[in-house]
Symmetry: C2
Amino acid sequence: MTYLNVRTPEQIRASVEAEKRSPEARRYDVTRYFRPSVAVDLVVFTATKNQLQVMLVERKDWPFKGRWALPGGFVREHEGLMAAAKRELEEETGVSDVYLEQLRAFGDPERDPRTRVITVAHYALILSERLRMKASGDAGQVRWWSIYELPELAFDHDLILDLALTRLRSQIMSSRVAFRLLPEKFTLTEIQKLYEIILGKTLDKRNFRKKILSAGVVIETDETILKGRHRPARLFRFNPEMEQ
Amino acid sequence: MTYLNVRTPEQIRASVEAEKRSPEARRYDVTRYFRPSVAVDLVVFTATKNQLQVMLVERKDWPFKGRWALPGGFVREHEGLMAAAKRELEEETGVSDVYLEQLRAFGDPERDPRTRVITVAHYALILSERLRMKASGDAGQVRWWSIYELPELAFDHDLILDLALTRLRSQIMSSRVAFRLLPEKFTLTEIQKLYEIILGKTLDKRNFRKKILSAGVVIETDETILKGRHRPARLFRFNPEMEQ
DNA sequence: ACAAAAGTGTTGAGAGTACACCCATGC
DNA sequence: GCATGGGTGTACTCTCAACACTTTTGT
């Protein structure tokens, strides 16, 4: 969309500094309006044990003692939404470079019984092997739950999870996000298993391979891997040119 | 997604009332965290004069005097995000039942030079004939702009508009949103013109008709309309069963 | 030799695309 | 009768889905 004039971060920052100290600033004080708390919540998916799993934390704080919820927390004053989500995820898991994408904001006035909290939901994909989960802050235990055997969730987190799952499934076939859930080198059967876990249905082996290979998203390596008394499988890696 | 347990609004409200007055409430006061201002912004599209047009308001308030921006405003204390967007749109245009959908939240800490404002962007589709735009509140003039001849926009509204346009174009072929931009009865040529305006390219008449008719989204009426010295056109109406 | 997963092609159906002429009307 | 937009069908290509047997290894 080249016909839209997008201001650079430098231009924005310059105007901020120039205008913030203007004598007119006080007259138009927007902070007089109602200000809600703003949080970020994360739907963190991983695929293990033939199940698509989602990360939940057990809340210890009032009024949720013992209820499970999505990891998340409040946005800080000088922090973007994505940055807040990244920080919360790292605090909870110790992992820093993950695939993160915003879903949308949830702002029902009664979604949080404590006070008005608007939350911006994100979803993340993560290799479970990289994880070393730790409890932190107000949160108690952190663990993976199969999406087919979920506990009752706090707030409107069931709605958020539902949306995240729908989004993940609709993106998986048309984009390359699934490769965020795979190690550097993998077999075609491993990718297929992953797709089957995410979509919740079996796929035809020949059609799947044809599609993956003709899409050019994987590159054949000259390595094979042997996992049992049968023919060894060829290893592939993701084609970095297909990042889009 | 039947395996997710979604709480009903009644259940949520009940727990709110039960828990809000608990003696523990004060100990876990979440309002001690930083609270930004939260706004909703609207990308309102219409199609007229062979152009896709977007509604912009001229700001009179500091520090934007004379700059154009998307219509929008702050979310109130007991108001959902969609409700806030609807209210702002009605204040600005007098029109109440429009198609509205959330895009996503924009929260760059420096997107607003006055203070930290997180905005939840929405897009709307509206029949321009129904409009009676009025200036209101802090806003000056309101008018339609062709998406191909836009002024420089305030804030990050160029980014938001860009996203809305991309979303509209990708939804138009797979969903029924386009019919929100048409009167009750219309000719097939009128729909085609609308699609061409939105997508910014010409379409093949025979293929377009084949697709629209076989999708079952329109119902033939027994009326025709005569607009010039040529064969009269058949009028169709939207099939309400295809709402999805 | 056999168990177990890896690997490999063809066919039919449906969707999308390209393309050109007759029809009904007002003037 | 002619100008103007309304209305119609066919052929090709490409994508998707269904479907079964051979290969390579360890034991």
